[in-house]
Assembly symmetry: C2
Homo-oligomer: 422 residues x 2
């Protein structure tokens, strides 16, 4: 499927996450042809993935078919394909069904979890990057309560009611808070043999504070809010082993049947096929204009790009960075196609947000630090705003309004088989 006959430059985008999708939208307004390849048919609004994992939203409410999002753009083609190789010399991308030639390439295939040289922990402690991850975590959480209801010993019951969340970044904090709410509120009246509020959530963090990428005062606020909710925050604690029976931590074994992973990321392995420098997480070092050194026609954006800010620190792996990088890479591609010089990328840092639970969040917006209800309202507003184009803002608003007053969670389904939590 190599096609060099088209008269317009051909841009190939690998990955339909925030970086790839925003790039495709920008490129669609320029004089280029675009082919976007993704191994999944849908884009996921990742900041709300933890809500799917905790049964608050349905998978379809935070996902949209990529080709549907891009349907208005006749020069944009979407292929469901697993990219297997990149040949920057021949300028082709290989996938499971052939290869496709490019004039410009944007690599934006994101990141997966890193288990720090312990890949055997992955099936025991799933991470949260895809819709499948989210429904798997949801299955494990709900199945733990179901199995506890049947448990015949007090020990087994408590082990089933205990949850370990590894990593106190935004995802870990959000998961821990949401699981605590499920136990104390959502499931309160649904069981006969167990008391869901006997459930305990342990948030385990190797560093010395919660939300390490946030300002210190907001990390403290988040930690206080978590403790008030009942979450047991364990700082300076490392995971030494994960088994089907629990997690061995600095200081002892925690017999919790459900262990969830929210620590460490590793960039897409496609980065390893490129020449040049990579950091420990596998992110590819890019030039200030987001190109691969020595290859002005190859761009990287999002979680697989290692891009430094003015102070020389790597930009974090969050949605706003991916969106801005993807859009900027698209601009530079269009400039290049018109013979203009690409411009260096500058991240416009509008802030960071993490939600902890009902009416509880922390936020830095510009230089302003917020916490509690105000931060939560800001979180809500911003997420609803960015859900434009997902076509179901009204449905989500409605669900959240109901959930706010009733503590119900709308999507408490165990699907995908009866594999036991114990």
């Amino acid at each position: 499927m190599i096609d060099r006959t088209g008269s317009l430059p051909h841009v190939v985008i690998v990955g339909g996450g925030f970086a790839g999708l925003y790039a495709a939208r920008r490129l669609a307004r320029g004089d280029v042809r675009v082919t976007l390849l993704d191994r999944r048919n849908h884009h996921v609004f990742q900041p709300l993935l933890y809500q799917v994992a905790t049964a608050g939203l349905a998978p379809g409410e935070i996902a949209a078919p990529i080709r549907h999002v891009l349907r208005e753009h006749p020069r944009t083609r979407v292929l469901l394909a697993e990219v297997t190789g990149i040949d920057v010399d021949r300028k082709v991308v290989q996938y499971d069904g052939g290869e496709v030639a490019y004039d410009y390439l944007l690599l934006a295939s994101g990141a997966r979890h890193s288990y720090f040289a312990h890949p055997e922990w992955e099936p025991l402690a799933p991470g949260l990057k895809t819709l499948e991850d989210a429904t798997e975590i949801r299955r494990r959480i709900l199945l733990a309560y179901e199995t506890a209801e049947r448990a015949t010993s007090a020990e087994e019951r408590q082990a089933l009611l205990d949850f370990v969340v590894v990593g106190a970044g935004p995802t870990g904090v959000e998961l821990a808070g949401a699981i605590e709410e499920i136990a104390r509120k959502t499931l309160r009246r649904d069981f006969r043999s167990i008391d869901p509020s006997a459930s305990r959530v342990f948030l385990v963090e190797a560093g010395d504070r919660v939300l390490p990428a946030f300002p210190a005062d907001l990390g403290r606020r988040a930690e206080e809010a978590l403790r008030r909710m009942g979450v047991e925050v364990m700082l300076r604690t490392r995971v030494e082993d994960v088994t089907p029976h629990g997690a061995r931590l600095t200081g002892g074994f925690l017999p919790a049947r459900t262990v969830l992973w929210a620590a460490g990321v590793a960039a897409s392995p496609l980065g390893a096929q490129l020449p040049g420098e990579r950091d420990a997480a596998g992110r590819v070092r890019v030039m200030p204009d987001l190109t691969l050194p020595g290859h002005p026609e190859v761009f990287l954006a999002g979680d697989m790009a290692l891009c430094l800010d003015a102070a020389g620190r790597p930009l974090p792996g969050i949605a706003p960075v991916a969106i801005q990088e993807g859009t900027w890479a698209a601009e530079n591609i269009l400039r290049g196609a018109q013979g203009e010089t690409p411009l260096p990328f500058r991240y416009r840092d509008r802030g960071v947000l993490a939600t902890i639970g009902r009416s509880q969040a922390v936020a830095r917006i510009g230089r302003v630090h917020l916490h509690g209800f105000v931060a939560w309202a800001a979180w809500l507003f911003i997420h609803i705003y960015y859900l434009i184009g997902y076509g179901n803002r009204e449905a989500i608003l409605w669900r959240w309004t109901l959930a706010y007053f009733t503590f119900e969670r709308a999507d408490r389904l165990i699907t995908g088989g009866m594999r036991k939590a114990s």
Copy 2:
């Protein structure tokens, strides 16, 4: 977990479908203790399962956690459990984690598909009974278009765009109509290499008409409506083989990559553990009061019960029958617990309905035969009405209103891996 100490009679219900759930609700108002066992944590509103299979509704919109539905009833306990055996002499039900003793037993574990002594067809031609079935069918339909977009030969492309639906009962008719709409309307503008409207849907039926359980005139109306929409209705046609490449039918091989099964049911294998008579589909013959012959404490309801109407014909496996049987069995259990004589069940036939597509349905309501928009409006009204208690009628109404005007389908997700359609 055998507990014979409780002072109230203990009723064990196996299965949380329509029969089991309506029985549990009725029993909760009487002086009995109830334990409901199901292998899944959720009840499914089966009449709308085809909408999940065709991406119109999300799984969570037609399902509710069983224990949540029954949470208000303190004497009702729900266990997520796979029932493995029934011992009517010892009066115990065995499950994967122990056994439970009963004073009264209601067996309502439904039916699965029957592949007519060809179980090897099941992975090639999935049926539609569970949420997992529905998302698997959805995955295959959407993946067929995605793979067609990548196809390199015209033959392969057409084979990917052709769909065979086996069986022209209500489920087959609903699936065929919905797939036809997806091809002609929903996906119209989303692809570049293929024209989704080149897709063909073959509805294959061994009998000589569509909707055999409906009055003949409504079967004809449904057939006409399907043909007008573009569905190729093949009557008096048998499936002789199913392969990964298509279906061999009376008259030749149809190279369609996606084959869906909506023909033939087999009752839950638990029925085989009971003494007494069974029909070819494995349904257990019950007494007029819905008890197992010789066991006035064992009741059967729903798709696994073989219950005859006044004319001696078996009642069909549809939701209204299951609901009425479940409720009636509960009444009889409560009568028995109070020393009263059980009463014979009489089915109140209010009618049958099948939807074909947008504004197209056929219905018999009492003695009145309806078709077209009027039947469709009746279908809509009745389904929305019976969704009471699923907690998301408003969301579904909203989705359907949007879908009616835009032909969009809200839940076009391919999840569960990248297994190819070809």
